[in-house]
Subunit: 352 residues, 4 copies
């Protein structure tokens, strides 16, 4: 069986990564590509690394009037929105209304509370009835909802790396005094849009903190932890910019009410993830590195119980464009379609 899909926002980095995956997905055919600013006629003129792989014309998002979407529906069933926050808000309802399944990679449908969205995104929120319909696509944590969903809000990159490490603690309501998350991301997470923060000479051989106290993944993480534990959760998260292209490593400091041993932590993870193909819990004493998941859909998790301080410290690494965006989107596609969740996602990390 072949599923025909549309990709909107095909020229951003998440869109390009989606295409890389889907071109090798056995059950999917990419039928239509839409981009925001039409610089070229074909994708491989814009991204020559695709030469010999793809020959589909790219069209402008501005063409996506309702009739056009209805017409697309004749040949396609599902749309990936790799569009920025603020754009998906309007596009997703149109596609849903036309009968499409929708996987949205933006932040527009992740926060269920429109007030929270407007506070953190500084933009108008999506309509509540669409916010309600969306399923938060953290694949390993909400697989059943995803399987039954037809509208996925694909999680944020930081949120994915952090929630996968924390979920086993929160869903068991292990009493936690405080959680501090020190997260570091490569530059591709900021996308292809130009800015001083992504200008080579400002980033290379440099390291900095950014969006201090303002990162929109903070309420996203808190919403999910609250859902898992059943009580209002607050986290401390700080985001830093690494002079690398891909990769997020989050170091998470947990102050627990009761001490834990290494073995208990290992046990928690084993229980939750041992059948999860994309989560690799590292053996005690071995810690993840961003390069070790480069180009793959893995989330590598390490842990350390500090005997001196009693804290449990977690380390979680993902490729922000794969498990943090396009990879998880395809994993969610596989879940929705009832396919093996690894279809199209068996890439081995490229190292070195």
């Amino acid at each position: 069986m072949v599923l025909n899909v549309v990709i909107v926002g095909a020229s951003g980095y998440s869109g390009v990564e989606l295409i890389r995956i889907l071109l090798q997905h056995p059950n999917v055919t990419i039928r239509h590509l839409f981009i925001h600013t039409q610089e070229q006629e074909k994708l491989d003129e814009l991204y020559p690394h695709f030469r010999s792989f793809i020959n589909i014309p790219i069209r402008s998002v501005s063409q996506l009037a309702d009739e056009k979407i209805a017409e697309l529906k004749e040949t396609s069933e599902l749309v990936f929105l790799a569009t920025p926050s603020g754009v998906s808000k309007d596009l997703a309802p149109k596609f849903l209304n036309a009968g499409f399944k929708v996987i949205d990679l933006s932040g527009d449908f992740r926060l269920k509370d429109p007030v929270l969205y407007e506070e953190w995104y500084k933009k108008d929120a999506a309509e509540p009835r669409f916010l309600e319909r969306s399923v938060y696509g953290l694949s390993e944590v909400f697989p059943n909802q995803i399987k039954e969903g037809c509208f996925i809000a694909n999680p944020g990159c930081y949120a994915t790396s952090i929630l996968l490490a924390l979920a086993p603690f929160y869903r068991r309501q292990i009493p936690i005094r405080s959680v501090i998350i020190d997260a570091k991301s490569g530059v591709s997470g900021a996308g292809r849009g130009l800015s001083r923060n992504t200008h080579f000479s400002e980033v290379n051989d440099n390291f900095k903190v950014y969006k201090v106290g303002k990162h929109q993944h903070i309420p996203e993480i808190e919403q999910v932890l609250t859902k898992l534990s059943g009580k209002k959760e607050t986290v401390q998260m700080m985001t830093h910019l690494l002079p690398i292209t891909r990769g997020i490593l989050s170091t998470i400091y947990l102050d627990l009410e009761d001490r834990m041993t290494d073995e208990i932590v290992a046990q928690l993870y084993r229980e939750d993830y041992q059948n999860q193909p994309f989560i690799r819990i590292r053996p005690q004493g071995e810690y993840p590195e961003t390069k070790q998941v480069y180009g793959s859909n893995f989330c590598d998790i390490g842990y350390y119980v500090d005997q001196r301080t009693g804290r449990v410290i977690l380390f979680s690494a993902i490729d922000n464009l794969m498990k943090g965006a396009a990879g998880q989107a395809v994993q969610n596609l596989n879940l929705m379609m009832g396919w093996d969740q690894t279809l199209g996602l068996t890439q081995i990390p490229i190292y070195p």
Copy 2:
């Protein structure tokens, strides 16, 4: 059908890249791994990016006595030698004598003239009768010899990027006044061995020339060009070290006796390579970048005919660990076995 293979030198970067490819090759099973210095018992302890992919024990090269090799032959048919120059020299004959097919990634069997080898490698040459038996594995240029061979000397990384760009000119005996090759490579080409030249703080945010006048790929390139044109060829080649992990870009300046047009250059390449799946000739005005072949087996070639100077300038990009080493080795395996040459090698470049 499944071919069982042995990899010797499994812990070097070429070996690791071979394993990455072969783990996803439909017709190959890796049966045995040997490494030089046994630091760990399993490959994924040494290279955790392989966790969940491979569970084969690694053994020491020192175990490879003749009896052991004979024993390996009972379960395997082909060996990849990803060993350093000076080591393959002795290992390849042992495996050949035991009936193995051999693909050697070192420089030991590339130069047919032992005197030349000793001059450039400053080591003892392999035995002449084995030098004679080896086939130079430049896949697109010598496919027939490779198909009939059972002992492949896999080309050097610089040599591959340069020869693929130059072959159409030399095999047609187009009169060339001079050729100057300015080549630049990422650091992984120097392997996993530690040296000041590969020490992060000495390379990062730095750029330099190295092995001035001494690079052992110079005689390799000259030997092949001489073979193609039928007359003694000499090239000027300079090698530079880029602060990147993977990738070679060679800029080649050709002074021709007679002027050429862009169209003629395009035509030459079309004739030679249009059915070659791993060579992508870029349209006029578009030039290759190393990142556009990252993690893939492509050789991307661009050209520019300078109207002001009359020179033809060629640009050739490869991933030095793929097309420059392990990728081409697998391509040669496919050719030798009579398989489709793209088996296991359809990775799309990872960009960005």
Copy 3:
């Protein structure tokens, strides 16, 4: 004695580097700073690395009407234009007319032939009478003209690195069959303006050629070589983008009519440069690296006479923001003012 200076274009990378130098120059006081787009009120808000060093307000270039310039003249004598090509063209004449000494870091006054300027820059050329008044500020090659000048066209970064290596050959009219220049530059040479070519994710861990056949330093180099040799000179130059912030390394291949020895090359350089404090000719067998001149005003030159091919190969490294822009501008200031040319320029390269 203290010279009061104005800097226009203070927020670009060359402007910022000028300020770094001049803040520690014993004879200079920075009196006024102008920038193009006024984002902040003070320079250290825009560039916090200057905190505790500078407290001068920054004003908009748009204020630079004739009266304003006349007013500036009351407190200042010299202006550095670190403005883009196309802007200096109009500003320099205004400042000259007001009686300022002018050092222009743009390309607007380097090419004496306005037709050539318009062909390569795709912009309107400056008025011929101002083109005639400008002195090409290649400090070690034209020191006398610079000393007598009051309007300096500061050389391009590539041109500086290449011309310093070539001048001894051309001014002696050594017969040269051909010269091929393969130049590589760090990203800061492209300035602070945003573009896809300087977007971190497109440059990091990547390497590419750019402006193929179109780089505006080609006619600049040819103009100077022609002036030195007394006959029309043509060069082949190709420019590449390195994933580093600062530094240019040019590899130059000279085909001479008559063979040269290493000793003769060394002798040429010794004759021309032995009293030049910013040119370091490397001993035979040692080659320059960009990091070895990082943050300094040096031009490091190495050479290699290839016995196999007869070619003389030159290697020249500079920090593009120092000797390739602001450093040489200050060196020219020192020459113009009759000061020791090293004033303010004794920074030791930062390594590693």
Copy 4:
């Protein structure tokens, strides 16, 4: 007045940085250089970036017998030991006994408790009577002891960046519930010695945690905080490896018993540091970046009081080879000698 100094360990990165500073220090002459492994005869053969700056022969540390040290004392007064931990332990006493003033950049004399040293360094501790004589050289925190000392244990790089940010809180005994330090360092901190952890291909475009729970700066930080607050202090610190050459950024999370405002934090820092030339407290809302202190002796500190969580979060950036090693060593020299503490240390950060 001129002070003649000896540098032992001149070829390591801290040694090389010391030389860069001291060559431009108005009151110091470098008289003798000793290195561990004698590869070259002169320093500029080993480090060509010093060409034209230094011409002193380098000798082997193995020559440093007692008589030799006594002989050195005839022409020199002070020695910098830029030797590794385990080496300084034996060398410092010899130099002290010969009447030298000693500034030791290793970790051998930082921990006053030899048991703690042996636990964290896994080496034999120095003799207790020399441990007692050493003064911990955190320049801004212990200036009086340093001024009176003749034997300085120069602080560790991480410790410096962290303690300067924390000292105002601890010396005032502000009640702190917990402190978590997430520190990130460039690779030069690991020195010039070769290891897999500093091999370019393993570090470039990668990010990882290292020495989890084992970093020897943990007890150093605790010792100083304990001394400042008067009660036993414990910290959580995690060290990460950035793919950059220079720079440390530490993000520090403080849980205070009582809430603080931004203004109070600013006030603390103002009180302690407003006359300190090398500490730059950033205005509210502006945060330090490693590149903004590159090549300079600054410690840049930013702060953020999180209204949501009540935590005070501190950001501290230094150049690990400058303020984290050689720069602070020279600052301590200046203090010891009664000179202006900025002598030789007025370098402006190099940006970009």
